[in-house]
């Protein structure tokens, strides 16, 4: 589904992530230890954050929730991601962790979501990158140079279909005009509509089978 070229484990599936790895608790303990005597005060909220932290990745977006007394939930969609920041400090590098911070266009300068405790942080970052707007846009679907001359590959089927429908309508109108001229003397409406329907079917069949059914397209059909 996504291309993860330089991830160590190719079978990394971000959509399966629900919980941070246990090593995150160790990291939190280290961070709390750095405060020295403030360790219990610093560690307690981090511990409860670790215990309650849940991630949910789906096709459209990502959400995370944590907290015991004060609960927080953050939801965002991949398309609204503005920039992705991958931050690794020394302790995180030793433990193989990283913080993936996601920015949306909201008013705060701090990250809207900080995903911690995922060992495959680079793969996760690349997953988010591949989902984020603009990562696939410019180069992948349509090379820009052929976008003006011919129908693009993505809208190709729709363009073909609409062209065919238009031709059918034109031919039906042509047939109707022709029958209207032919049946001008007798103004039987039932007959007229029936013949029009028949003609429309006929021309639509022609249009489907023939590659270019508008051989007489250049002659404006209606004799006025």
């Amino acid at each position: 589904m996504t291309v993860l070229p330089h991830s160590d484990d190719a079978d990394f599936d971000p959509l399966a992530i629900t919980r941070p790895e246990p090593v995150l608790l160790k990291y939190y303990a280290c961070v709390a230890l750095l405060t020295g005597p403030g360790f219990p005060i610093a560690f307690l909220p981090l511990y409860f954050k670790y215990v309650t932290l849940e991630y949910k990745f789906d096709d459209a977006g990502v959400s995370m929730r944590w907290g015991i007394l004060f609960r927080r939930e953050v939801h965002l969609t991949y398309r609204r991601v503005q920039d992705i920041h991958l931050t690794r400090n020394l302790i995180q590098r030793w433990m193989g962790l990283a913080t993936v911070a996601i920015q949306t266009a909201s008013g705060s300068s701090g990250p809207e979501m900080s995903i911690e405790g995922i060992p495959q942080a680079e793969a996760l970052r690349d997953f988010l990158y591949s989902k984020m707007r603009g990562a696939r846009g410019l180069g992948s679907d349509t090379p820009p140079e052929d976008s003006t001359s011919t129908a693009p590959t993505t809208g190709d089927a729709a363009a073909e279909e609409s062209l065919r429908l238009l031709r059918e309508i034109r031919d039906a109108l042509q047939a109707r005009a022709g029958t209207a001229v032919a049946e001008r003397p007798d103004t039987g409406t039932a007959d007229n509509t029936a013949s029009v329907a028949g003609a429309a079917e006929l021309t639509s069949e022609v249009a489907r089978s023939g590659e270019a059914p508008n051989n007489d397209a250049n002659s404006p059909g209606a004799p006025s």
Partner: protein, 249 residues
Amino acid sequence: MKPKIEAASQWCYRGVWGVLTNWFRVPDQPPTLPASAHDEQVRSFKPAVGFLQYLKLQFWVLCVVIDVAIFFGWLVIAINWPWLGVALAIPALFVAVVPDIVAYIAIHLRFDTTWYVVSDRSLRIRRGIWVIHETTITFDNVQNVSISQGPLQRYFGIADVLVETAGGGDVRAQQQAGNAMAAHLGLIQGVDNAQEIRTQLMSRVGESLTTGLGDHDDSDMRAAMTAWTPQHVEVLREIRNLVVAGADR
């Protein structure tokens, strides 16, 4: 003598790098962007050499100021209390010299760990030694690109390119406060071809048809825009003629 010093410093520096990469897990390869199936240009570059000289000039100025202050402080102490001055001579020398060496190495490391990677669609910036910070921005999300250059930077022929995305926060204030990791901002610092980079980035941004605020992918937009070909218009015109002729009758 000079080449020997050069070689020795190189050797020391490589030793420092070895410690960093092995013990402190500093990546010694430039960052990459996920490869796409389509051939796109990925250009990775570093700050210009002028940036290193610029940082070194700042370093020397700061170094001289601090060391002179330390020296005069020591001199005052030594004149008033000679025995204390003798006792403090070694610590003062230590305080004066060791941070300078560390800072000097740190400047080189900062220069060597800063990487900018630009592809057709996105920009990735890595910076930092203790805290390694990687920013990824797609050009679809870029709101503006600006260049800033101070007089000293102009002397060294370098400039900073700021790539900003939508969203608030006091980015400028943070940036001026020295926080180069401010959000909503990609800072391409100390490059000598800022204009060229600006032009390249802006042309990429210009190719994006969206406002960078979460609208649909421009691939969809392109498809919607070009779904009507000249053939469609021709057939439509014929239909119009037929309908008009039918109405006339």
